[in-house]
Symmetry: C2
Subunit: 414 residues, 2 copies
């Protein structure tokens, strides 16, 4: 039936770690948790985890760009991967990423305490949030060779000083020239589980303490540009207008309708709107708005993105204007591994606590890892879905429950 | 049947004046016509008009804040007022305002040449565009006592250096302490006609050369604030969202419907939209958008503004959000004088050229003057309705036609 842990003790340990890593030596801002690659605060965070893992007998290492890797087995021997990231959004909170690494550390502690001696490898990914160089999932993309050397040498520039990722990595004592070797971190991994806060309110609103994640949504990011005609807002009769805000309005409502109708977890959002000019007394000449369409089923979300772009074009044409949609980026959905998901579901069921199976709408490093390693994720609720904000809040008791579930799933998969 | 003028000669003179006043000594920018109160360029513009009017035997004066006033009759004797403003939008063109003063000067010339000896008073208003102190219609509002002394001493600050209107006026040699006497400019005026470019495309699109303006639209300027809930764009299911952009979208379309349905020249515009946060991957927490609702009939445009605000409130409520509408400013419509309008219509009909009666959607100094003096306006087309831009273009032949119409209207009203 698996191991029953002392959840209160685990929760207290998790709480203490989170508390420690929220201290002034671990954040560059006093108003938020702000922590990113190659800063002294980030260095101290890696060292903190390194020391705790060494105490448990783990060998602690870093890959050529600074991804933390700790194992309780010699190199080459198989192990099960657990972890997340410990960098934060610039205006971040205590839990996004960090709670996943802290919970992975707790799994390592529990494995030792309960004499399970599970073969474990903890990974803390570099720059998941992109706060240092504006590139999300940077560490896991480097690991999976989803970047080019030119990106690292020239294109990815520090938000703070404009110097390249390459320069910063070298200045911090790493060997970016060996970045391709980062893939070896995954060598011998028999599976991977990442715990993360949900960053939305599905768990809270449905009264669940645990979400077993069976897919990570893919997405289309695009911009729609509507060209109308700038006119005087007072002097131009309604019938003579080419007002692009009307096409924007129709498209916002159509996107809502299409995403709702598509179902299957498809969502669509207009998060940015820009009018030119932007004046109370002028009919805008141009409107730009962003499209973010996601879902765990490629055919559904890609269909909604396509239909929305086509609708905007027709809506503009009907009114004598033009609209063109320019894609920024698209990524297919990542189905997670049925066996790892199943082990987590069984372990969750064994706790007697309320849980559910769900997909992740947000992107995670696990999207990259899953390309090579059978992977799954575990979500815990965060208050009101607030994330990427100092007000972010999650319960260490839920993280302790997640630790128990992960521990038992890995034991079952062994 | 009125006087028939040599329109080609008048057009050539108007063209020459416009050309002169577009020279480098009359604008502070080489890329636009930029001219505002108390700059050397503005001073030279007033001096240019002053010299031309003195040549015609006019007495040239300025009111206590710098409004140019020239008469061909002694103070106290009745005269008919004509003119406009010769300051410009900061990114302005050659015609907005200036063409009206140039055309008024042409009327003065024609009155002399045709031995009509009409009693005339030319006025060039100060700071119509608000380019100096951010206050539209400033000169005519001062004249009509629609400002307070505190406004002039403390509140109205120069865009360039933050110093007060009062200080700038004194530095330029005026006596702002006597600002209340500015109202005397209107003493003895038997009527007022302002010529202006249309700043929209009604005349161009309907093939008319002249618009006789029988009303100036009033307006409501307001902001609608919709409070939703900021959420992760990927992780928040459609059914759990409180997305304020949907209320924005519904309200944009309802405003369009209401303004169109109201008719009678009512127009409604959403010219500014602001989302907070404004991120492609976030459902906005708040949306702000501006409302500009105008028309020549108070009951109609005020009704549309009221109904739009109420609709936004209901639309938000239906979706579990709130919307509140905050008024920035409102001004009733200004009906113009039927007798002056009638004289202009008769004179326009006498030319055999295509003309129409219309209202002005834009605000003009005549809104203030009309409070005290029987007033009307004459519009000439401007290419594609473009105004407040260096590309602004109007035809001197149309202005010459306007001069003939104004001349004959004043003669008929004598």
């Amino acid at each position: 039936m698996g191991t029953t842990i002392d959840r209160e003790r685990s929760a207290a340990r998790i709480e203490r770690e989170i508390e420690t890593l929220s201290g002034p030596e671990f954040t560059t801002s006093s108003e938020a948790i702000r922590r990113y690659a190659y800063t002294p605060e980030y260095r101290r965070t890696l060292d903190h985890f390194g020391a705790a893992l060494r105490e448990l007998g783990f060998t602690v290492d870093e890959d050529p760009v600074g991804t933390l890797v700790a194992r309780n087995r010699p190199p080459g021997e198989p192990a099960f991967g657990i972890g997340s990231h410990c960098d934060s959004n610039r205006n971040g909170g205590r839990y996004d990423g960090t709670m996943g690494v802290v919970t992975a550390l707790e799994v390592c502690r529990l494995s030792a305490e309960h004499d399970l001696d599970l073969p474990l490898q903890l990974v803390s990914f570099l720059e998941e949030e992109g706060s240092g160089f504006g590139q999300m999932l940077l560490g896991s993309r480097i690991m999976l060779q989803r970047v080019t050397e030119e990106d690292l040498r020239e294109r990815f520039l520090a938000i703070d000083d404009g110097r390249s990722f390459w320069e910063h990595a070298e200045a911090a004592g790493y060997e970016p020239a060996r970045w391709r070797e980062s893939i070896r971190v995954l060598d011998g991994l028999t599976g991977w589980i990442e715990m993360h806060i949900e960053q939305a309110r599905v768990l809270q609103d449905s009264g669940k303490r645990i979400g077993i994640v069976d897919a990570i949504a893919g997405y289309v990011h695009a911009d729609v540009f509507v060209s109308g005609r700038g006119d005087h807002a007072g002097a131009t009769p309604m019938g003579l207008r080419l007002d692009p805000t009307t096409v924007l309005a129709e498209t916002v409502l159509e996107l809502e309708r299409l995403a709702t109708e598509a179902g299957g977890g498809t969502v669509g959002t207009v998060g940015e709107i820009e009018l030119d000019p932007s004046l109370i007394n002028a009919v805008a000449a141009e409107a730009r708005f962003s499209l973010d369409v996601r879902g765990p089923q490629d055919a559904l979300f890609q269909g909604v993105a396509r239909d929305t772009a086509a609708f905007a074009g027709r809506a503009a044409e009907r009114r004598g204007m033009t609209a063109r949609t320019v894609q920024r980026q698209t990524l297919p959905a990542t189905p997670l591994d049925a066996r790892v998901v199943g082990a987590l579901q069984a372990a969750a069921a064994g706790t007697g606590e309320p849980w559910t199976t769900m997909h992740s709408g947000a992107a995670h490093d696990t999207m990259c890892v899953a390309e090579r390693v059978p992977s799954a994720m575990v979500f815990v609720p965060c208050t009101d879905g607030i994330s990427h904000h100092p007000a972010e809040e999650a319960d260490s008791a839920d993280a302790a429950l997640a630790a128990e579930i992960i521990l038992n799933a890995i034991a079952a998969l062994r």
